[in-house]
Point group: C2
């Protein structure tokens, strides 16, 4: 099996990316501390044509050398916006008609295997590495999605969580809401 050369991958250039239709998904980071996680979120969002990333609270914003090391330039292609308070991002998204899901372990959460997206546009909120999504933010979400986990640790890494979520949600959104 011959590996493809970079020139054979037919990736978009930044201008083509700008003009390409995105999937109706906004990723909200609620006080994410790690610059590595923020960079990785940009890189994954670029790969799956996520509409925008909303950086809230203590979440760092580009330009930032450490974000760049992991994002590798995806922080320049993916649209982003900063909110001092995550609740302001939630309010704005609601006004714009987004269905908002926290990614957490909560009462009555929907396990990711059972998620069936029926509404678009869609937004997901990922929380702080230690505290998760703030309970006050949770109280304003429409639903909660949980990745089923079977081992000893309480949670997955933020960038891995988001990779799994964007993969699963983008598959559904591409099939249902994009021509």
């Amino acid at each position: 099996m011959r590996k493809l050369k970079i020139t054979e991958l037919n990736r978009l250039n930044p201008e083509e990316f700008r003009q390409t239709a995105k999937i109706p998904l906004v990723v909200v980071l609620d006080n994410v501390r790690s610059l590595h996680n923020v960079g990785s979120v940009f890189r994954t969002s670029d790969a799956f044509l996520v509409e925008a990333v909303y950086l809230c609270g203590i979440t760092a914003t580009p330009p930032n050398v450490e974000i760049h090391k992991t994002a590798l330039g995806a922080e320049d292609t993916v649209k982003w916006k900063y909110f001092e308070n995550t609740l302001d991002a939630v309010t704005e998204l609601k006004q714009e008609g987004y269905h908002i899901a926290a990614v957490e372990q909560a009462e009555n959460s929907i396990l990711l295997d059972h998620l069936e997206i029926k509404q678009s546009p869609f937004a997901i909120i990922l929380g702080n590495e230690v505290k998760g999504v703030d309970q006050k933010v949770m109280d304003h979400c429409d639903t909660c999605i949980e990745i089923p986990q079977f081992g000893t640790k309480h949670s997955l890494n933020v960038s891995v969580t988001l990779g799994i979520l964007i993969w699963e949600i983008s598959k559904q959104l591409r099939n249902k809401f994009i021509q």
Copy 2:
């Protein structure tokens, strides 16, 4: 939506983890440089009950402070083994009847959306952050799985790639091969 307390998550303790049936999946790291990626692979493998992680070539092994920072102890629960040469790991897995898939962008690769696992046990090989899976290793794999990507960057982060792969493969293995 009330967030669950850690005590409500009902996670396994290390002894329970040892005794729990794993999914028939081995993750092979072919010369992965980043300790953060190695740690994250352990943490994700713990969450989805991966059978073992094979660390090859320059891939660092526990105990290691930097691996621990990301693995948070999962490097003690998930079984692992070190091989100086990745091809030796591949040879051993083949002798034990594993179906081996490289995770790469190659000619005739299977896009992850279309993956249908028909054989068990299964092994996946992830490559170096810059060079990917070595072509010589590719030549000994049974198949190649590719995550479809639509943006400007050539690839995803190793720990994100593995998160998506383990999620998708473990769903299928749980449904098909575990009682």
